[in-house]
Each structure stands twice: as C-alpha cells, then as structure tokens.
Symmetry: C2
Subunit: 306 residues, 2 copies
C-alpha cells in the first residue's frame, strides 16, 4: 500500500518510519529538512525500539510530485490545516484514499471534512513522548501507541489492517475506539499540561514536584471529564490520578505547545482549548479553569507577537 506523510515533525517521522519498517511504500513530504533527508534519510533514537536509521526514503518538497495514496497521514500542527491542506492534499487523493489526522484537539476532522466533503477521514491520537532533535532526526523518549478512531470511513477493515501494520515491536495500534472519546481522553492530558507549562514557564517535572500544581492539574482534568460527560462521552474517573501518576514518572518533558511557544510558533489553542470549551458549553457545562487557561495562552501568544 502507498502512504503519504504530511508534516515531518516528530510524529510524522516516527509513524512514517514504522510503516517503512513494516515494508510499506511510504512517501514523506518535507519542508525545511527536504534537502537533508533526501541525502541522508531519517534517524530515530529510541530506547524502546533500539536506535535505527532509514538511509534512503522517498522524500518530496511538493505533494504534486507524490503519488495518490491509500493512506495520507496528516501530522501537521492543527494551526496549519486551514492554510496548507487545501494546497497539499488534492494531489494525494485517489478514489479510495483515507486521510488519517494524527493531530491533537477536538473538531479537527469536522473542519477537514468541510474543506474536502468527499474524502474519507479517520482521526488518530499518538500517546508518545518524542521530540525532533535535528533535521530528519528524532528522539523517541517513551511510549508510542497509536489509537485510531473512525470519522467517516466506510470499510472499517481497512483501518483494522492499518492498525496491524503499525503494531511493530513494542508499539501497539488499535482502530477500534470511538473517535470522540479518543479525542476527549487525549485532551485530558493536553489541556492540563500543554497550557500550564506555557503559562508557568516550566516542564512537566516541575508541575509534578508541586503538590499545589498536582492538585490544580487534577481539578482541570476533572473539569474536562465533566465537559466530556456533558458532550455524551464518559471517561473513567480514575484517569486524572492515572495521568498524574504517568506524568510523575516521565522525565522532564516540554509538551508540544511549550515547544511551540518557546520557538515562537503559533500554539494549538483553538482545537485543544476553544473547541472543547465551546462544545461543553453548548451542552450545558462551562469548563471555567480550562477557559481561563486558554485566555492566558492567547494573551501570552499575543504578547510574544509584539
């Protein structure tokens, strides 16, 4: 099967490399790393999978040169969807292409479906700690499971088959989850930790070392659970404790939004904060602290632009 990877940050490179390892025909769209990757390929430093390199990959700087694919993986920041997808996607779409959005936040699929009303879309959440550390070079710190949720794909067997391909070594991929539930579950972590590390200018370890911030993080996650519930999604009430536990055991980590802020890139506030707040609101529950965090983030982004 033919696969296209759009957006070659840590997520795109990692999951694209898994497909290559599985023997699939993978085509990478690159931007600033194009020349380097074309020459040198990709490099993944991973304790979990062992370090590995892909010396020769199909690298492109333009989707018009790429083939139509069975699967197109969108691994861009959601802040880029509106600007880039109308230009990037069309050359990759065949009659039966499935576009998989490995992105964060709520409501992304709906907005992409509005841009491309005829395509088949799935969403996916990557439960991974990884950072890009050089051109075509990523550090896979831990975890790595991928969960796919269907949006409007008709043949679910194709998603099941895809999940099998991704399940390599210690990485597990499933395609069975309810997309809405999957998105809300991932939001639990993202809403609490992405924004707070930006506003308080720290990494996750500092938050977890502070009883006050452990408490606040749990309060925020409890709000998200109530927000999800208002939207008809039941999340396990033990999740906040589990996520605190999980995050406490992680080494010092800068979530993607913290890196975006540090590197003066736009933050994914819209899909990670605004849409969940608006959806919960529409269904009668106001996530007060989440909304406050979003407003603080918009302020900081604005100050940075000045």
């Amino acid at each position: 099967m033919k696969h296209a990877i759009i957006g070659s940050g840590a997520i795109g490179i990692f999951y694209g490399s898994l497909l290559v390892k599985a023997g699939e025909d993978v085509h990478f769209l690159l931007h600033s790393d194009y020349e380097y990757v074309k020459e040198n390929g990709l490099k993944i430093d991973s304790k979990k999978l062992g370090n590995y390199s892909l010396d020769k990959v199909n690298a492109y700087d333009n989707t018009e040169k790429m083939p139509a694919c069975d699967f197109v993986f969108v691994c861009l920041k959601t802040t880029e969807n509106k600007r880039l997808l109308p230009k990037l996607l069309p050359p990759l779409l065949g009659n039966n292409t499935i576009v998989v959005l490995i992105q964060n936040g709520l409501g992304v699929e709906k907005d992409v479906a509005a841009m491309f009303p005829k395509i088949q879309i799935a969403g996916a959440s990557a439960f991974i700690s990884s950072n890009k550390i050089g051109p075509g070079h990523i550090l896979h710190l831990d975890h790595g499971n991928l969960v796919i949720g269907n949006y409007n794909v008709q043949d679910l067997n194709r998603l099941e088959k895809l999940a099998e391909i991704f399940s390599i070594q210690k990485i597990r991929c499933s395609a069975t989850e309810d997309l809405n539930k999957l998105r809300w579950r991932k939001l639990l972590w993202n809403i609490a930790f992405n924004g707070m590390t930006v506003v308080l200018n720290c990494q996750t370890d500092a938050l977890m070392a502070s009883p006050v911030l452990v408490n606040l993080s749990k309060q925020i996650m409890e709000e998200v659970i109530l927000g999800a519930k208002a939207c008809g999604v039941t999340l396990d009430e033990n999740l906040p404790d589990e996520m605190i536990d999980y995050t406490s055991k992680m080494s010092a980590y800068s979530p993607s939004m913290k890196l975006d802020y540090d590197y003066k890139r736009p933050m994914e506030i819209h899909y990670i904060y605004d849409v969940p707040v608006a959806e919960a609101n529409k269904n009668g529950y106001y996530m007060s602290k989440v909304d406050m965090l979003a407003q603080q983030l918009y302020f900081l982004e604005d100050q940075q632009r000045k």
Copy 2:
C-alpha cells in the same frame, strides 16, 4: 493625638505624611531606611498634592523607644503580621489605642484580634497608586482616598474624627463603611490584577490592551462579586466595568504583588486569595478561576524560592 506608623513602605509614608501635614504627633517605625530618614526625613512626589518634604520626622528603629499612641497604623505586608506584630505592637498600646490595619485582603482583622484579644481594631483600604522609589521617598501616582471600616472599636466618633484629619487637600477619608464590604470591594481589583500581572509577567496596561484579558479580568471580578454575595455582601454589579475603565486609564502599573514577586518578597496570597476563596466556599460558592490563580501564584512563588 499621638500616632504610630508601623511599616514605612509607600502606604505608611503617604498616610503618615498626611497626619504630619495635619499637625498631628506622628512616630514612624522604620527598618532599612531608619538611618536615612532620621537624617533626611521623608519626601513625597505627588502631582495631586504637589511635591513635599518632611525634613524632620520622629523616626525609630524599635517600637520599644516609641510612645503608646492613640492610633497605631499597621502598614506592613500582611505576610509579616504573624511574625512581627507580637513583637512590635505591645509597646505602642495604651488603654484606649485603636489599631488601624491599612492592609489588603480578607480576615486580617480577625487574625490580629486573635493575637491581641483586648485591643480595638479598625481596617482600612487605601485606594491609591503609589510606589516607594528610594529610602524615605515615595512617588504618589494618583488617587489616595482612604476608607476605614470598623472591626470592634466602641467609640465610632474617634474613627470619624480620624477620617477628618486624613481629609487633606484632594484626599478624602471616610470611616463609615461596613468593613466586610470594604474588604470585598478592594479585593475585586486586587484579586483580578495583582495575581494576573504576576502570572502573565506584565503590568496593568498590557492586560487592559488585550480584549481577551479584559474579558478574563471581568470574569474573575464577577466571580468575586458572587463570592461576596455568598458571604452576604452585595457589591454593585457595575463595579467590574468601572474597574476596567479605571484601570484602562491608569498608566502602566505594577500592583504591589507584582513588585513583591519581582523583588523576590513573599506575596500576599493568603489574605488576598485563600481566605476569600475559603469564605465563599464555606458559604456555598466556589470561585473557580480565583482559586486557579492562587494555585498558579503559589507555584511561581515556590519556583522562585528554588
């Protein structure tokens, strides 16, 4: 009448200097500025009152050398009350002394009364923009009215008389307000702007230039109004708009908590945030955003200590 000023920051110097101007017998307790003020007196730069100097003031470095007074004005940061008042107050207390706490926050009077069960206490809120800019030297930027609320003073005429003494030139002082209402009204501004300038590392002008932060500030003030209401205090619902208007017209200003944070001094989180949150909670209303702001402040203070 004899007056003692405990705590010679911007508030203590300003209101002490008004008493001197009014011809009262005023005794200043100084700490780091003692030697300087003993030699050089006090200097107040004020557009509103005109600049003035008090070349010779009664300066002390120890309350044991000071006389018992009719009025003792406590102008310390509330963070110092517990540590300093047991030592500082006793020499100043006569049979009929009234201790006036010109301090911020809720519940301060109650805690001081618990330390000194027999004394008469009043609380006061200073509605003033002023900063200390050198030893014995303050800049009075704007406003300056003082409102006194009774805690357990028996002869209210004495507070009325005091208010008259303070009403000099364009400064107005009244002694008629319900203390609890006075404290909550001042909290409206302090809760919204003190903490937010610390967490977002900015001055008031940046907040007021941001529609997002104007909105968030109003939401926080609306929470405080509901918190006050739960505690039986009715504040005017137009106050948030009035305070936004007032703050927008102020020049760039660092509230006292921002200065405390910048200079690595303890912040008055307890009386400005914790006590109001706890009081409202006890009466059935949870000030969610206010509590979040408090938790962010505790985290930042803790990080700074490290």
